[in-house]
Symmetry: C2
């Protein structure tokens, strides 16, 4: 039995949970990830806005799984799945791992609605690299504005457009507006960061579409009070170095071009292409339509979970692509592997919705628990408590609490680092900023 | 009076101290730096070995000086000094700042003894970017070894050569050997990180040449106990992708080629080229020979301080290029500017040697206070206390204490992040790793 090999592709919420549930099982587990670290994605926007350091929200995958003697961690990118041979190929063939069971949890990237040419001008927020790119652009814009002589250029540099009114867009917009108004003003002499404009564009008629309408409206009001210019019913039609053009689709919403040197993308996801190699049906975003036991139709030995999978939940709704759902699926896939080995029937996945939370700013958040909703400071403290509780690893939790307490009392941001070689060059074309590490 | 302009080039220990001392003076201060942050350089090796996050040892220069209303911070690189016009040119002419007094504190880079072709294979440790490069190479070597099939390649990957037996080399060597033996072994399955070899090469007959001989010997013994292979009397003659060749110059020291995929450079500094533009005499490392009042001979309006300057101290000794000396010079230069404005005679710089400290590992350090020396755990706790005390900014101090306490009790390293896009690619040529941010 101990030669049964379970290969898990992806060390995010879904993959790590699956691996943990196989700790004491009579199987050999291999976890493969492109990076050496697990990232607590719900707090990525905090790294992107200089509130937390990358290491505060990440831990080495090896370290997370160090006590699981049956588990090996491989740093590499799975480039091909051979469904017939039951192997995955790593880094274009530099290594191969055979599997008896495959759990695919490789996640998603942000999508640009078939406009990948916008990407250099509008970074998204999925990985630590993304977060560092956003942080650097955000901070550099104020530096460049301080040095600009031309008034129009300065205004464009101090205009930040965020595309997408889901949780990430709302969190980024609220935080960026707050930082510009509270943390930065004293530091600049020629410009006034508190005059920065943060514009949030959303194509639909309301923010946070997954939440009840009154919470959407509450979030909008909170953002407006924080100084964010919220524009609903606006579909982006062009993104370039100089700004964003959008078409007004809501009633009475005019089309406009916004001169802005910084655009951030929080609209739409696309599953990684690995799912397509399975030959299974996928949705428009490339997610694999999995069976109720989370396996791929026709391939009971392959499970797809997390942002890469889609399956129904109840009356026409899909299981959402959020961390709690990914963790539940990870556990479920591991359980179904073990049940199969034990010759027990598999069980269909049951999603338990623990509620939706989105934070907008200091003492401002909205929470939807199905049977009731909360907003304002109670929701904010709830958000804080839940995120610290779930943040993996004792050290990180303490460090994050410390940073947040410091920010809370001082209104400052702790991690205002610009470290990329390219980013340092004031005036470098936006598309060429080449930010990596932390 | 308020139109007297003091331009400070460089936001390190020397430059920041000079700026702070001018806070209440009737002058306009401009601080220019290539980066947006001040770095606490003595702890760079902690970032390089994953003990601290980059943000733990750095703070934005703007933030440090936010309360000085007479001070403006400019992000940019000074590319030329026009001594006749009394202006400095920023980023090849994109901006110009006129000065009445110039305080040049731009610092040094590591030097490769006229072998700049070694640089891609042997990164040094002067900036946060450097530290992140070292960290990534160090961590990636273990990842690559875990994936290597060839025994010789694996051995070369697990061999780390550090060139230079000064404080930085000693600290790096001790820390890397300790991490390989305590923090990493449980995380790997195919390789044993505790078998890693850390080799410290020093051309001279002893380590820490600035310290008394018995402390040098104590440091050597401590390193050997930590598993470091210390080789004195070895002059490096070649550095490449495959390893390091050195010539034995000490008695009975054979010449050898060491197969190693990771080489780190901690030998020798070179002042930045700005000093040469002043037309003043410089030493072999490019440092400006300043007058006793820290000004440039023939240019009383220009002060050169910190790693960029050299001046005598007592009986044939030079003021050392360490943080305490840089801070003292910063204060002194500011004072001499103010005395000049007040028509008082300038005072010659007097260096107060507060002692030399070097840490080797847990409970191991050496300290030289001139009239007495300390080693062992007392020196180590001294080192710890002094560094936490001096670390700028309340937040960082707390965060560092927390991280150190955690590392102390768990023997773990908190910041084991590999985040560069290039670094991720296992097997990429060493010279092409392109690490930036954090």
């Amino acid at each position: 039995m101990s030669s049964t090999r379970v290969v898990i592709v992806g060390g995010g919420f879904a993959g790590i949970e699956a691996a943990k549930r196989l700790r004491y099982a009579p199987v050999e587990v291999v976890v493969i990830d492109r990076t050496n670290h697990f990232v607590f994605q719900p707090l990525l926007y905090q790294v992107a806005t200089g509130g937390l350091a990358p290491s505060d929200i990440s831990v080495p995958i090896r370290w997370l799984l160090r006590r699981q003697r049956n588990t090996r961690v491989v740093l590499g990118e799975v480039t091909r799945i051979d469904v017939a041979q039951r192997t995955v190929e790593i880094d274009d063939g530099s290594a191969t791992e055979p599997y008896d069971f495959l759990i695919l949890a490789a996640g998603a990237r942000h999508a640009y609605f078939a406009h990948s040419e916008w990407e250099p001008y509008a970074p998204g927020l999925k990985t630590l690299e993304d977060a560092l790119t956003v942080r650097e652009r955000f901070l550099m814009a104020f530096e460049e504005a301080e040095r600009a002589d031309d008034e129009a250029r300065r205004a464009a540099l101090q205009t930040f457009v965020i595309v997408g009114g889901g949780p990430t867009g709302v969190e980024l917009a609220g935080m960026m507006s707050t930082i510009a108004r509270t943390a930065l003003p004293r530091d600049f002499r020629r410009t006034d960061p508190s005059k920065a404009r943060v514009i949030l564009l959303e194509a639909g008629p309301r923010l946070l579409p997954a939440m009840p309408e009154d919470l959407s409206e509450r979030a909008r009001q909170d953002l407006v009070e924080l100084g964010v210019d919220v524009r609903l019913g606006t579909v982006v039609t062009a993104v370039g170095e100089d700004g964003v053009r959008y078409e007004g689709v809501g009633q009475g919403v005019p089309s406009e071009f916004v001169p802005a040197r910084s655009v951030f993308w929080a609209a739409g996801n696309k599953a990684l292409s690995l799912g397509a190699q399975l030959g299974a049906p996928t949705d428009r975003a490339g997610r694999v339509e999995v069976a109720l036991d989370l396996s791929v139709p026709g391939h009971p030995e392959i499970f797809v979970i997390g942002d890469l999978a889609t399956l129904p939940y109840r009356e026409g709704r899909r299981v959402p692509w959020v961390a709690p759902a990914a963790m539940q699926q990870g556990r479920w896939a591991a359980m179904n592997v073990l049940r199969t080995l034990g010759r027990l029937p598999r069980r269909p996945f049951r999603y338990v919705n623990k509620g939706d939370l989105a934070t907008i700013g200091r003492h401002r958040a909205v929470a939807d628990f199905g049977s009731f909703t909360v907003s304002g400071w109670i929701a904010w403290w709830l958000w804080l408590t839940i995120h610290i509780f779930y943040l993996a690893g004792f050290r990180n939790r303490l460090s994050v609490m410390l940073q947040w307490a410091w920010s809370y009392f001082t209104y400052q941001r702790g991690v205002r680092l610009i470290v990329s070689e390219q980013g340092r060059k004031v005036g470098a074309p936006h598309g060429q900023h080449d930010v990596t590490t932390t």
